[in-house]
């Protein structure tokens, strides 16, 4: 199962809910305002680093660019994908769940 999360962790609890209700090993895609969760130096960085240990974590590149987030600002272990990569993740990992 692919878990998708599109909300800033500073606005909503979607990141917490996704972490609580996803199984270890299921990949995660952060998109739209969800990409802020993948940046260094935030109050949720430890939580997201722990998530990277349990899940393959992807972020949507076009959403990073739009928000002026360079790849150097991403937490270690996070992989950037484009829309084509997003499609591949959906195809490869079965059911998708969107945490809004």
């Amino acid at each position: 199962m692919l878990h998708m999360m599109n909300k800033s962790p500073f606005e909503r609890n979607s990141l917490d809910s996704m972490i609580r209700l996803s199984k270890k090993g299921s990949p995660v895609l952060l998109l739209e305002d969800g990409v802020y969760a993948a940046t260094k130096g935030t109050t949720v960085a430890d939580q997201v680093t722990a998530m990277v240990g349990d899940h393959a974590v992807y972020v949507l590149g076009p959403d990073l660019q739009a928000r002026a987030i360079g790849e150097d600002r991403l937490l270690d272990g996070v992989t950037v994908v484009d829309y084509g990569g997003f499609v591949d993740l959906v195809v490869e990992h079965g059911t998708t769940q969107s945490w809004l």
């Binding site: 599109n6 195809v91 059911t95 998708t96």
Partner: protein, 119 residues
């Protein structure tokens, strides 16, 4: 692979419809079969042909319609959600059709993947 898509927000307030559009376009380019895009909640506003964005911004209503025309894509607007929001045949943009919520469940059954975009 057969893919179904659900869009739950309109073309301006949230990014959901933009992301769905880029996803669907990329899926088609990769040779997947996007069976249907279903518009629910405020997503029905994506089908309002009276919508006039400023000239320097994207026009999602038109972009969806063009994509539908080019790839014979089935864009379905939920009738119950649409009527509440004043989306009727008179103002339905090209490429969209209005039908029942059953069409969402149906594509969920028929597709290998159902992907939801919302807020």
């Amino acid at each position: 692979m057969k893919i179904g898509v659900l869009v739950n927000e309109g073309p301006f307030t949230h990014q959901a419809s933009d992301t769905a559009y880029h996803f669907v376009k990329a899926a088609i380019e990769k040779g997947h079969d996007v069976l249907r895009v279903f518009f629910y909640y405020d997503g029905v506003n994506n089908a309002n042909k009276l919508s006039e964005p400023q000239a320097d911004d994207r026009n999602l209503v038109k972009l969806w319609g063009d994509l539908a025309k080019e790839h014979n894509l089935d864009l379905v607007v939920c009738i119950a959600a649409a009527l509440r929001r004043g989306i009727k045949d008179e103002i339905l943009a090209e490429g969209f059709r209005i039908s029942g919520l059953g069409q969402l469940i149906e594509v969920g059954i028929a597709a290998d993947r159902t992907v939801m975009f919302g807020d």
